[in-house]
Each structure stands twice: as structure tokens, then as C-alpha cells.
Amino acid sequence: MGLQRTWTLHNTLAGALEQVIEQLEAQLSEASVGELVEFVDGFLPGRTASPEWTASLERLAEVMWSALPTETMEAVGAIYASREGPMWQPLVNKFSAEHGQRLLGQRWRPAGARRAAVVLR
């Protein structure tokens, strides 16, 4: 495969990935707080499909912080903060306002880019 064809493939996949992200953001926006928490709970060790599924929670949290309104994220954070036991601490911290601000502050949007850079996994 030549360089021109490979770069064309790269651009096509970038376009497809953008559409997936937009669809994901739309679905997250339509979900209730209860549905969001139920979905996040499915990443935990007892319910996860695989280690790779759990690891992808990092990326899901980033999308949630960038796509959802502050009050929704506060509601999600409050549910985890109310759960007792050390196993919930990573989620309490992941959905804390301070962590959200830090993540949003780290977003990198290069000049000329349609949207902020995306980490895939």
C-alpha cells in the first residue's frame, strides 16, 4: 500500500472515528443519571467483560467530562461519593469536580483541528 493510499485510509478512519464520538456523545447526553451510573458500574471487576473493557473506563470518563453538563457530572459524582468502601474510591475521585477540571484543562486542541485530540486507549 502506497503512502498516498495509506494517508487516505487514515483520513477516512479519522472521519469515521469522529462520527462515532459524536454518536457516543449524543447517546451519553440522552441517558439519565441512573443509566449512566448503571453503565459505569459494568466496568467494575465483578461485572466487567474483560480487563480491556475495564481499562477503557478511562476514556469513557474523559468523554463524559467533555460531553455532559456540569450538573449531570455532579449527580454522577454524588452517587459514587455516597457509596461506602475503598473499592469505590477510584470512581469517587474519577468523578470529582477537581479531576474533571484537570482533565478538561489538559485537553489539547491544535490550531486548525476540528476537535480536541482523542486518546484511543
Binding site: P51, T54, K94
Partner: protein, 527 residues
């Protein structure tokens, strides 16, 4: 103290799980110029009958099973004796002090599970002191013991007769099939013959290496995280160090345990099937035929697959590397780099280091086996170590990351770089002792950038972390790190030091008391 009374007091303190008295007595005898090897031999002989477990899984009343830990006293002795050679005349006595401090706490792991004998498992893991019935009987699980420990496997007589090669074969088969008495008896018969020792050492390492779980994910009890291999390595090193003629207690400690339940050969079977299918009649000469090193880019590719692939990807990648003619140890070196990258870049929870640490020690045993002996099966062990490391990485991913656990050594980089070079090693020592990982990593990075010197740095890291007590894994990790650093040809040896620094300064310690270190300091370090 007379020599005879001193040894008697040492034995009594050990079997009664009185670790403070045992350490004080051991140290006093050492200061009275009793030979270290004689003291270690006496300690190993004393514990040998009391460290056997009938199995490493125990049936629970509810029908489930409970893991029973492997003996770690012998692992502590082996690692400490090896470290003692590398930490200098006085510094080398710190790991030795830690080894004897641990020994009386590690007796009879089977009965510690049941709260029938004191030790660190009963005290710290099973919290036996919190049980009402135990308190009512006045049992103290910090020791001393209220009764003599149980003997869970009686010593055997040597089995002789027949050719050496037939007995070696039968011994390996007995261990594999779980016939502990025959495996041990055949070993004892062969050990009497100095001409068989090289073959015997090789056979024990082989037997240990092939007994490894294929995954720890969703297999809480049916795993051994490499302990059969680690015990075999401890035995062959210590037998050479203490002398085979003095090593009966050592053999009694290790050999029967090699055949205990569970015996886990599924991964070995998979590796055998893959190698023999992929390479047909050439698989037996892969070690001799494959000589090529890995290029820096190939090292990165192997690291990437081990860190991010599925087990099937890892198996396919190792086959690919072997087809490319890459040397076994070159592939192994890249696997160690992958493990170290995992420690440096991914592991964040202080409590999560313990099980993964065994993978480095297992890789070290495999590499020692390949470096020291020849066996056509050695290529298969590469699959096992690569899958083991990959499995540790994937098992860690089962737990969501906590942003609060993220380390920030970069915030201390300017401070570390401004320190004079002569101050770096003492400051590294202080940072590790304080478990200040951010500073320790920044300091080691500054040291690595400013000097080519590495041996004093490694010795400093090892000495510092050996201040922490109750845990022979610390000494074992140090010696595995030192050996792999010395032998690694990947071009990324400093990665091993950076991983060791994070492990030393960040992993949860079993105790933050410094009782053993204080004994070392007052007894040996003055002046």
C-alpha cells in the same frame, strides 16, 4: 554465650516462632564469629520439618477452597545470601538480619491459615488475633507459639538403584504427577552423587518452571505465581552456597513441595504444542540456531505486544520472534523491559505491586536456567514468561485507575537536578526509607542522567528497601533486579533500575516498624 548453648537457643526461638529472640541470638552468634553459612544451615535444618503444606489449596467448610501460601523462609535465605555478596561486608548483613527475622514468622503456613500457629500469615492476613475463641485461649499470633509446630510431611530415605538417567526421568515424572515421596527420595539418592549435581540442578529448575498458571484472572486459588520455579532456584543456589553435603534440610524444605497440589501444567502444555507444531523437528535446536539480537525497534514491538496484546497475540509474537532467528535471551530481555515499563508507566496502586513482582522473579529464574544450562525445552519457557507478564498487566487493568494514585516525579525534577551528585545517593536512601516515590524517582532519574555509575546506585536502592521487615519478597526482588540489570542486552538496562526504584519506594510494605533494622544498626553498622 557458648557455641552449643547459642545454637540450642536459636533453634528453640525459631520453632517457638519467637522472631525477636531468634534474631537477637543469631546476631549475637554472628558477632561471636560463628560462620554465617553454619548459622544459615542450622536455621534451615531447624525449620525444614515445619514448613511443609499438605497442599497449597485447602477445602473450606462451605465446599470452596482457600489458598495456602508457599514457604518463604528459604526464599529469604537465598535472596539474602546472594545480596550479602553484593552489599559489602557490613551492609550485606542487613538482608541477612531480615531473613532470620522472617524465618520464625513463616513456619507452618497450613496451620497459620487455620489460626493454629502464630506467624505473619495468621497475624496479618487472617487476623487470627481478632477471633474471640483465640483470645479466650490466650493465643498470641505474633508469637511465641503455645505448642510445637506440626510436621506435615515426614522426611524420607534416599531411593537408589538403576541408572542415573532413569532416576532423573522418574524423579521429574514423580514431581509432575504429585508423588512427593518418590520425587523427594529419588532426588536424595541422586544428590549423593557429585557427578549428578549439574543435571539435578537443571532438572529441578525445569520442574519448577513448567509448573505455572496460565492466568490469575478469575482463578484465585488455582495459581502459584511462579513459586515452584522460585523455590527450585533458591534450592540450587543455596546448596551451592552452603555445600551439598550440608544441605539435607534445604532439600527437605524444597523438594517435597515441588509436587504439591495444585500442579499447573496447562500453559506448559500449550507452549509445548505451539513450539512443536510451529517448528516441527527444529524446535529442539532453537537455542543453538537462534543467535540474532533484537533491534531497538524490535524491542519496542515486543514490549508493545506484551503490554497491550491478548495472550493469543503474545503467543503468536513469540513464535514470530523465534521464526526470525532471534536469540532466546534477547527475547527474554525484551520481556523484562516490558515488565519494567508496566511498573513505571501503568502500576499506580501501592497495594497492587505484590503479585506482579513475582513475574520479574520468574523471568529471572527462566533466564538463569537458559544462561546456565542447556535443555531443548528452553524456548518454550519464553512463552510462559511472556504470558505471565502479560497476564499481570491485564489483571491490573481489571481495577479502575484512581486519579489520586498518580505519581508526579516531574514536579521534583528541578530540585533533584540541583543537588550535588555526591548528595544524590544518601537522598535516594532517605526518599526510599520515607516511601516518597515522587522524590525517589526524580532523584534516580537525575542520577542516571549525570553519571554512568550504576552498581552503587543499585546497592543503595537494595539497602534502603531492605530496611523494611517481614517480607522476603523485598530481598528477592532486589537480587532479581541486580541479575537482570547485569545480564540485560536490550539497550534499556536503566529501565530496570527505574522500575526497581518505583517498586522500592511505592509498593505497600508489610510493616513500617524497623525492629530488624534497629538490631542490624546496633549490632553491625556502628563505626
Amino acid at each position: 554465650m557458648t557455641e552449643q548453648r547459642g545454637y540450642q537457643a536459636l533453634r528453640e526461638a525459631i520453632v517457638s516462632a519467637d522472631y525477636r529472640s531468634a534474631t537477637a541470638t543469631f546476631v549475637e552468634l554472628l558477632r561471636d564469629e560463628e560462620p554465617l553459612k553454619k548459622l544459615v544451615t542450622a536455621s534451615v535444618d531447624t525449620t525444614a520439618p515445619y514448613i511443609q503444606a499438605p497442599a497449597h489449596i485447602m477445602s473450606r467448610p462451605d465446599g470452596g477452597v482457600q489458598t495456602v501460601n508457599y514457604d518463604h523462609t528459604v526464599l529469604g535465605w537465598r535472596a539474602s545470601m546472594q545480596l550479602a555478596h553484593r552489599l559489602g561486608e557490613r551492609g550485606g548483613l542487613l538482608p541477612i538480619t531480615q531473613a532470620i527475622w522472617y524465618v520464625p514468622q513463616g513456619l507452618n503456613p497450613w496451620d497459620q491459615v487455620l489460626c493454629r500457629f502464630p506467624g505473619h500469615y495468621a497475624r496479618d492476613k487472617f487476623k487470627c488475633d481478632s477471633r474471640e475463641e483465640e483470645r479466650a485461649q490466650g493465643h498470641n499470633f505474633d508469637g511465641p507459639a503455645w505448642e510445637t509446630p506440626q510436621v506435615r510431611f515426614e522426611d524420607c530415605d534416599p531411593i537408589r538403584g538403576g541408572s542415573s538417567s532413569a532416576r532423573l526421568h522418574d524423579m521429574a515424572a514423580a514431581i509432575r504427577q504429585g508423588d512427593r515421596a518418590d520425587g523427594y527420595g529419588l532426588f536424595l539418592g541422586l544428590a549423593d552423587d557429585p557427578e549428578q549435581r549439574t543435571a539435578l540442578k537443571e532438572a529441578m529448575l525445569f520442574a519448577g518452571i513448567i509448573d505455572l498458571q496460565e492466568s490469575i484472572i478469575d482463578r484465585r486459588e488455582y495459581q502459584n505465581i511462579g513459586h515452584k520455579a522460585l523455590r527450585a532456584r533458591a534450592m540450587v543456589d543455596l546448596a551451592d552456597d552452603l555445600g551439598w553435603e550440608n544441605a539435607h534440610g534445604l532439600f527437605y524444605t524444597v523438594v517435597p513441595d515441588m509436587g504439591t497440589t495444585p500442579r499447573l501444567h496447562a500453559l506448559w502444555t500449550q507452549a509445548s504444542s505451539v513450539v512443536e507444531t510451529q517448528f516441527r523437528q527444529n524446535w529442539q535446536t532453537l537455542k543453538q540456531d537462534n543467535r540474532a539480537p533484537l533491534t531497538p525497534r524490535e524491542v519496542e514491538e515486543t514490549v508493545d505486544v506484551v503490554l497491550w496484546g491478548l495472550p493469543s497475540d503474545v503467543v503468536a509474537h513469540i513464535s514470530q520472534r523465534l521464526r526470525e532467528g532471534k536469540a532466546l535471551l534477547a527475547i527474554g530481555d525484551a520481556i523484562v523491559v516490558a515488565f519494567c515499563r508496566f511498573i513505571i508507566d501503568q502500576l499506580e496502586n501501592r497495594a497492587a505491586y505484590f503479585i506482579p513482582g513475582h513475574a520479574l522473579d520468574y523471568c529471572n529464574v527462566v533466564h538463569h536456567w537458559i544462561r546456565t544450562y542447556d535443555n531443548p525445552h528452553q524456548a518454550k519457557a519464553l512463552y510462559m514468561e511472556a504470558v505471565f507478564v502479560n497476564d499481570m498487566v491485564r489483571a491490573d487493568r481489571l481495577f479502575p485507575r484512581d486519579p489520586e494514585n498518580e505519581l508526579r516525579p516531574d514536579e521534583h525534577a528541578a530540585w533533584a537536578e540541583a543537588l550535588p551528585l555526591r548528595d544524590l545517593l544518601p537522598t535516594i536512601d532517605a526518599a526510599i526509607t520515607d516511601l516518597d516515590a515522587d522524590r525517589a524517582i526524580a532523584l534516580v532519574d537525575a542520577y542516571l542522567a549525570r553519571t554512568e555509575e550504576r552498581q552503587r546506585l543499585l546497592a543503595t536502592i537494595a539497602f534502603s528497601v531492605c530496611k523494611f521487615q517481614n517480607d522476603p519478597h523485598i530481598q528477592r526482588n532486589c537480587i532479581s533486579t541486580m541479575e537482570e540489570f547485569t545480564e540485560n542486552r536490550s539497550g534499556q538496562r536503566d529501565t530496570i533500575i527505574r522500575a526497581a526504584t518505583k517498586y522500592a519506594s511505592h509498593a505497600t510494605k508489610r510493616s513500617l516498624d524497623f525492629g530488624a533494622y534497629d538490631i542490624f544498626r546496633t549490632s553491625f553498622a556502628a563505626g
